[in-house]
Subunit: 210 residues, 2 copies
């Protein structure tokens, strides 16, 4: 959040209701107008607050949209379905459902695009969105190791072996990248059949890189 832990003790406190109203108005505006059509003034009107109130809390469009969309990623979970294949398929479908929301589709790509020219924005995105997703990969991998579906951490085996951190990063980029690309670039739906085939490919590939 923009003012994380520092708590001013005196003076009138900032309205939490206004925060919620603004973030919700931002998502609504994204759905109707998209990234390019979204304006600060419009969001303020929708939220029923003054434009100056927005600028007191967020530096601009970029930061506002990141916060508005970040909460959507909090809903991602990794239920224990008994097998690694089922767990991955589940999280793939969850992520696809999230990308089916118009506000998420538009905002995600736009803020990533802006972040290529803004280091602070890049950090904000990483903390608010990316790292939360990566936790799911770490958790799913550990579960699979406890089940015996994946070997425990240790030195790589073959000549193509990879260490733990590299594996996690690779899995994360492949899953998130493939789902995003299919949804937003190819424009094809991520349904149960695709999730199943993709997961089969991923698990088959994992066996090859140890």
């Amino acid at each position: 959040m923009h003012n994380g832990t520092s708590a001013k003790k005196t003076g009138r406190p900032r309205s939490a209701d206004a925060d919620h109203a603004i973030l919700e108005a931002t998502r609504a505006a994204l759905v109707e107008l998209g990234w390019g059509g979204l304006t600060m003034g419009d969001v303020a009107t929708r939220a029923g607050v003054a434009k100056t109130t927005l600028y007191r809390r967020w530096a601009g469009k970029n930061e506002l949209v990141v916060d508005a969309v970040a909460v959507l990623f909090d809903e991602l979970e990794l239920p224990d379905r008994g097998s690694l294949q089922a767990d991955i398929e589940d999280v793939v479908l969850q992520f696809a459902a999230l990308l089916a929301l118009p506000e998420a589709r538009t905002a995600l790509m736009a803020v990533v695009a802006e972040s290529t020219h803004d280091e602070a924005l890049r950090r904000r995105i990483r903390e608010a969105i990316v790292d939360r997703q990566k936790c799911l990969v770490v958790l799913g991998r550990r579960r699979a190791q406890e089940r015996g579906e994946l070997p425990p951490d240790g030195p790589p085996l073959g000549p193509h072996g990879t260490d733990t951190a590299t594996q996690i990063d690779l899995i994360f980029d492949v899953i998130a990248g493939a789902v995003v690309h299919r949804t937003l670039v190819s424009g094809e739906p991520v349904d149960a059949a695709w999730a199943r085939t993709f997961t089969t490919l991923l698990l088959g590939g994992l066996a090859a890189i140890r």
Copy 2:
């Protein structure tokens, strides 16, 4: 292109030099200002043309940037390196090099974001960029079949078998998605080592989905 084949016979022809100057100016502006900072007036000034000339050829920022970046993707090739593994590694590194260009990084994500609210823009992106990349997958796959590294097209084998079109789409989304995600979202470099590990995973996975 915006006026593809239809050729007016009479009147003063449009300046091809102006086209090149505008597209080059657009890329330069993307590098310096990013997507958000790029304005039509600035591009016109850089290119040495009038602002009205831009609007006579492109409807707006979105269409202009797609055309300006599309030519970068024409340089992608699939050299025959003798093995499927080497071919894929090569094209992965080529794609990564392209995404290392600031103008490509910024523009790609931005136009995809805008395309979520613009069907015409989506088609334009597909024709100018996506389809050209997908051809590489089709070509590489056919070569591998001729070498005997992949089985020829036919009905799927196992219970998880997939048909040809599904396989091609999947391979495409996994390759492009993973490279884009690692480069732009995770912010990690795609070097030879990563390309090797990723390709090993992909080929291992391909064996699992037939």
